[in-house]
């Protein structure tokens, strides 16, 4: 089964297959044969070429997190390549990533704004966070009022990207 993961902002198509004991991982269309694959608890160990790599991994519905020698990669699961591109265009930063409270709505709906303009102040973990315009565009509206509680995934600002 093909997996689509966004890693450090780039979309990758990955597939693991096994034939007569040989495991092959296809990364963006290129096949790589790995050897001595082992998995114990959170550890994934494999040999690629003449080197053995030892990773720690944790997966959930949304993410695949891998770690090796202090370097963490959080890879976002994407259902398909098409959806990944769509999300990229939308800019996913206007949803709340934390439970929090809408503190202040900064502009009136309909306002034309430049990328980076603060649109809303969210309070989470006792700190204020500004939610800014991801690109040039128009503020369509605010789904919440000041003082409303929000949960992770809630859309905080309806925003229309300027078409150029």
């Amino acid at each position: 089964m093909k997996e689509h993961l966004r890693v450090s902002g780039e979309l990758h198509e990955l597939e693991v297959s096994e034939r007569s004991g040989v495991v092959t991982v296809t990364v963006d269309g290129e096949c790589h044969e790995i050897a001595d694959l082992k998995r114990e608890g959170a550890e994934i160990v494999f040999r690629l070429g003449d080197r053995t790599y030892r990773f720690l991994a944790h997966t959930d519905r949304k993410r695949v997190i891998i770690w090796r020698q202090g370097q963490v990669r959080s890879c976002e699961r994407v259902e398909s390549a098409a959806e990944g591109e769509e999300e990229e265009a939308e800019g996913a930063s206007l949803t709340s990533q934390m439970p929090g409270m809408v503190l202040k709505l900064l502009l009136d709906p309909g306002a034309e704004v430049k990328a980076g303009t603060p649109l809303l102040i969210l309070e989470a973990m006792k700190m204020e966070h500004e939610v800014c315009a991801p690109s040039d565009g128009k503020l369509v509206g605010y789904p919440f009022s000041e003082g409303d509680r929000v949960m992770p995934g809630d859309l905080l600002v309806e925003f229309e990207v300027a078409t150029e």
Binding site: M1, E3, L5, V7, S8, E10, H12, L14, E15, V16, S17, E18, V23, V25, T26, V27, H32, I34, L37, R39, E40, G41, A42, I44, F46, L48, R51, Y53, F55, L56, A57, H58, T59, D60, R61, V64, I65, I66, W67, R68, Q69, G70, Q71, V72, R73, S74, C75, S93, Q97, M98, P99, G100, L103, I121, E123, A124, M125, K126, E128, H129
Partner: protein
């Protein structure tokens, strides 16, 4: 020594204080909120008392509940840690009025140093240099603008009752000042219940240098050198070290003397920290005094061979401190990084999640003060600080190398942390050079971004992704995806946990 102490805090600092109590043969009573019932500090304490729901006002800030807990278990003293009630003079007074020993300075010293305006006045009186500014809390916005024009932009807006960066703003022109004052007042009101703010001259490319002091109950004080905390993000400290690459023995003695003078002016007792801001020409100004144990106290402990929590307990119990100024000589170098549940790629937004995988570093000169274990859930109710990783070495390069190796061996998976970011900060060439200032992170952002994923990482991600995890399996059962064979099923011997 006390027989039993109540620790009125949570997280890594509660764990650290409980350990300090046990080392001196003293029992420790923990307090906790509902979501903290299974927290590490609760597990390590001799006894634990539920305070109330998650909201700090109903738990860790609830005077009555905490004092009831101390009475219930016959505690003799209360240690507040840092944050929460540590710098609340009313609570310190309530503790003393309740017949308990407060492990900290006298309530009056907390109150006077807590009012930043009065603290500046105390510092001035003791002869220490103070930054120019307008500290009249009743000043109008117009007066603040006039004062800022007078001393020259940029100006810094601060909360009078502040700390921890809350309410702080740097403003570069009059147009932005009014909005900054408004935002700062709002944040200050929320965080401290007091909206008063003040402004002072913002010193460009400053170093943040603080002096650790310790006073016994007879007014005898010593200083334990400086800590440099210049690596900050939004006025929150990220990396701390001692000695400072910018402070020599002569300057240390001068700053130590100034710090002791300020603390003596307020009749200080127990451990405290006097913070200074240092301009590139090495002139320094009093910033504020933190009337409690600091988050970054372990670097001082390494370099001076002192246990500050022990000293706090010894002073408070009346046994007196064991330190003499002439014996306090720094040896080697120590650096600390603050490990937080936050996402450096999403503007350092605090993160929640369960610690699914935890690997901790070890070895000589390595210390990891934290409150994590596998299965511990980090919720949205409290500060995102998870712990501190501290390294010690005979020299600054040796300490950096040890910290780097320790970070290489530290893994916290399941909640996004700043660990990789911290490692990039301490590996940065500018950090090695020791040319530190509070704008370091902003200035060096380009060198701190995540490098692109390499092939072995993508292969590991593919291997991890193609194995169904517990939550996917649950969804799949209802979502009609069940029954798709994956390599994990036919490879057979791989566990599915």
């Amino acid at each position: 020594m006390f027989k039993r102490v109540l620790v009125a805090n949570r997280g890594e600092i509660a764990v650290r204080i409980i350990r300090g109590c046990h080392e001196l043969g003293c029992e420790a009573v923990a307090v906790y909120s509902e979501p903290d019932a299974e927290a590490l500090h609760v597990r390590q304490a001799d006894m634990a008392v539920l305070l109330g729901p998650a909201a700090p006002a109903e738990s860790y800030l609830n005077f009555e509940r905490i004092l009831d807990a101390a009475r219930l278990h016959d505690c003799e003293a209360i240690h507040p840690g840092y944050g929460f009630l540590a710098e609340n003079a009313d609570f310190a007074k309530a503790v003393e009025d309740g017949g308990f020993v407060w492990i900290g300075p006298p309530p009056d010293a907390i109150r006077r140093m807590g009012l930043k305006v009065e603290a500046r006045e105390l510092a001035r009186k003791s002869g220490a240099p103070v930054i120019p500014g307008l500290d009249n809390p009743d000043a109008s916005d117009g007066e603040f603008i006039a004062a800022a024009e007078d001393m020259g932009w940029p100006a810094m807006v601060k909360a009078s009752a502040g700390g921890g960066g809350k309410g702080m703003r740097v403003v570069h022109d009059a147009d932005r000042l009014v909005a900054a004052l408004e935002a700062a007042r709002r944040e200050a009101e929320k965080a401290f219940g007091n909206p008063a703010v003040y402004i002072e001259k913002f010193i460009e490319r400053p170093r943040h240098i603080e002096i650790q002091v310790l006073f016994d109950r007879d007014g005898r004080g010593v200083h334990l050198g400086e800590r440099e905390c210049s690596i900050q993000r939004r006025h929150q400290k990220v990396v701390e070290e001692t000695p400072s690459p910018g402070v020599d023995e002569k300057l240390r003695a001068k700053m130590g003397k100034a710090a002791l003078g300020i603390a003596a002016e307020v009749g200080y007792v127990n451990a405290g920290t006097v913070e200074f801001i240092m301009a590139p020409d090495k002139s320094f100004y009093f910033l504020e005094m933190n009337t409690r144990l600091q988050v970054e106290h372990p670097v001082t402990e390494f370099v001076y061979g002192v246990d500050l929590v022990h000293e706090q307990l010894l002073v408070a119990s009346g046994e007196g401190m064991t330190l003499e100024q002439k014996e306090l000589v720094p040896r080697g170098h120590s650096i600390e990084v603050r490990v937080c549940a936050e996402d450096p790629r999403a503007d350092f937004l605090p993160q929640i999640g369960t610690v699914e995988v935890l690997r901790t570093p070890a070895g000589p000169g390595v210390r990891f003060d934290m409150s994590l274990y596998e299965g511990w859930e980090i919720g949205p109710d409290y500060d995102p600080l998870l712990g501190k990783l501290i390294a010690y070495g005979p020299s600054r390069p040796a300490a950096i190398a040890r910290l780097d190796a320790a970070l290489r061996n530290t893994a916290v998976l399941g909640v996004t942390t700043n660990l990789s970011f911290l490692r990039r900060v301490i590996r940065h060439p500018a950090f090695a050079e020791g040319e530190l200032h509070t704008g370091f992170i902003e200035e060096n952002t380009d060198g701190l971004v995540t490098p692109k994923a390499e092939l072995p990482e993508l292969i590991a991600a593919a291997l991890a992704a193609s194995k169904p995890c517990a939550s996917t399996a649950t969804v799949a059962a209802g979502g009609g995806e069940a029954g798709i064979a994956t390599p994990w099923e036919y490879l057979g011997d791989w566990s599915n946990t």
